[in-house]
Symmetry: C2
Subunit: 403 residues, 2 copies
């Protein structure tokens, strides 16, 4: 007997017709002799509808009550899917967060799953086929409903898969997998059959939003193989494994990008220990996420220039903080909000020499100026002029043989 | 400190604007030094919307899952009202059925409240002002969500008022009280200031649908004074007491009617003991509710005619059962589905001679033929031709000085 966790996102359960289709997908698994725990999101649009109601009451709607409000969305899907399964003679039952229970820690709207009681559901599955569990929520130690912030329903699916020792965890969504780059922008983008957790994380945090990053992180930590696939086609999806189970034939797996970055350069900063800390400590305190940092070597040995990137909507706050801090001495602050980040991602990069050189050469051939560079084991990112983003993605996708 | 249970029906919480209005009504009570437990229904239209979704899945939607589905409606109202109160600085909190818990017995969609744990809410109210509780639902001993059939949110309000030993139980609705007859049909209908439980029961079961009958019954049994009032006006409502607290100046309190009855006559039935039982036992078993029964004295002493009324949609089933029972011997079965029931209701009737006579005379004056009569302590009902219903109500309303 194979125990599967299947997660269905909002568009997959967006109408009662689609819910009935999901019931048939699950029935196939049952007919194949598997047991299923299905994690469901709220019907597409439903959560936004509830948020709209809350905003009509108050823009600062109480967080505890917002969780009570929003959690009703997944409850509705649970009941509908369970009844759709029962109708086609599959032994199914909805399990609400407090009936399991799914225990969480942390603040309302940003809780974290800390435990799931498996006993009752396991016993139930001895003589039944499907347990349907609402994603995105749990209850706190004080018995209040909480919604989980990072990862949402994906995080619930991974946590359930881990605790129930499921054989697979399949994420059903409205795309049929992870692509080598954005298929909406680059028509030659190709679906990736297998990808490592690390690569998936780099791709998704860089804009290829198929799954929530924190859910992938959890899956990586506990080595739970994932599969992302489409609810609407029968095609194979993308399998996400730990790196050692993948044979790399290519050095680069995908090209990711993001367009919400801004570059800030502080010139004429004193070149002595502690200066960088003086700059980045107050930004960190203000929860401004600094991404790339480059410190230029200056001809004048007493001063240096520091360049870094932040999210565009943090630019104003960043400038305010820097200007307010009297201990930061500088000549000038230059901001550039019209930049974009392009990254090549691939676990095979580390064993393939020359990837860096080939990337720089390719961009140079297209007359694209590199404004900043950052590297990691499996990723190489550059900041370029925003207008040249599409040209850059296309070129890199081609030269690394992803077309 | 006065402890009040306030119940708000679906139209009272039909929009976020109305919910905010309800928050102000509650705030007034808090400012007056009272503590409030608010019972809320789903927003108007919401339950029907959920039922529509369920019907898209299946007309025979699983009953357990239907309860899971429908109970989400009240949950949404609880969160919205609680946040609306917090916004205007009233210490409020939503309490879902399983958080209290409200324990129920009986089948899904038709459960009955058997207990409510008052401990946590009472403790909470020591330092806070309002507990918001979803109407119409509870959890079973097995921890499943159940909705309560008879009485709905009104029944929750009365049960909460009883168990919490509330000082008053106020039912906020979209009408401003109980009227002497249907104000939509008879413009001279007058709001009743005070009414006894018995009268209220007779009026509501006969068509004056302001409150659910079974909730009134429970209030009567435990002597919990009720008040029905409008959410939308500041006018006084109708107080519902036990009979001994009311001084009757009029013999008749109101005129009720219903138009979903049918009359069935079985002629030529043997006139011997046990015959009536033979007829009504199988109907009772089939859960057909027989209302009035009249046995005519026949000139032929060996046979008699039996007339009774049932709900119109039970007529076919009734005829089938009677025809199938070989032990019931008769000459003919005559059905009349175009009848209506008109009743005068009043706790003062018992002490006022001549009420019966005056009713019959009045109907006769209007040339209305009486097809059947039934009497009780506080009610006198007649079956008449459906077409004459309005004429009858008007006449009775006038002669018993209710205009």
């Amino acid at each position: 007997m194979v125990k599967k966790v299947l997660k269905f996102g909002g568009t997959s359960v967006g109408t009662t017709e689609r819910i009935q289709h999901v019931a048939y997908i699950i029935k196939k698994e049952i007919s194949a002799g598997n047991k299923v725990i299905a994690i469901v999101s709220a019907m597409a649009g439903k959560t936004n509808e509830l948020i709209k109601l809350s905003e009509e009451i108050s823009k600062e709607f109480d967080k505890r009550e917002l969780d009570v409000l929003l959690s009703s969305g997944e409850q509705v899907t649970c009941a509908l899917l369970s009844a759709a399964l029962l109708k086609i003679k599959v032994k199914a039952k909805s399990w609400l967060n407090w009936q399991i229970p799914i225990l969480t820690d942390g603040d309302h709207s940003n809780a974290r799953i800390i435990n799931i009681n498996i006993e009752r559901i396991n016993k139930y599955l001895d003589n039944n086929d499907v347990a349907i569990v609402p994603g995105f929520q749990g209850i706190s130690k004080t018995g209040d409903i909480t919604t989980i912030g990072r990862g949402g329903s994906d995080a619930t699916a991974v946590a359930v898969a881990k605790i129930f020792k499921a054989d697979t965890c399949e994420i059903y969504t409205d795309v049929d997998g992870v692509y080598s780059t954005d298929p909406n922008k680059i028509p030659v983008a190709k679906k990736i059959d297998k990808i490592s957790f690390d690569e998936m994380l780099e791709l998704s945090s860089l804009g290829a939003k198929v799954m929530q990053s924190s859910a992938v992180q959890t899956a990586m930590i506990y080595d739970i193989p994932l599969e992302v696939k489409s609810t609407f086609t029968e095609r194979k999806g993308t399998k996400i494994f730990s790196q050692e189970n993948i044979d790399y034939t290519k050095s680069v797996t995908g090209v990711a990008y993001s367009k919400d970055d801004a570059k800030i350069t502080i010139t004429g900063v004193e070149d002595r220990p502690g200066v960088a800390a003086n700059i980045f400590e107050p930004l960190n305190k203000a929860q401004i996420n600094v991404d790339m940092v480059i410190q230029n070597i200056s001809s004048d040995t007493k001063t240096t220039d520091i360049t870094f990137t932040v999210k565009r909507n943090d630019v104003q706050k960043t400038l305010q903080i820097l200007k307010a801090k009297s201990e930061i001495k500088y000549k000038e602050i230059i901001k550039n909000q019209k930049v974009a980040k392009v990254s090549i991602v691939g676990a095979g990069m580390v064993s393939t020499p020359g990837v860096t050189y080939r990337m720089f050469r390719a961009l140079s051939d297209e007359n694209i100026n590199i404004l900043a560079i950052s590297t990691s084991e499996i990723k190489l990112s550059v900041i370029i002029d925003e207008e040249k983003i599409l040209k850059a993605i296309k070129k890199l996708h081609t030269i690394f043989e992803l077309d």
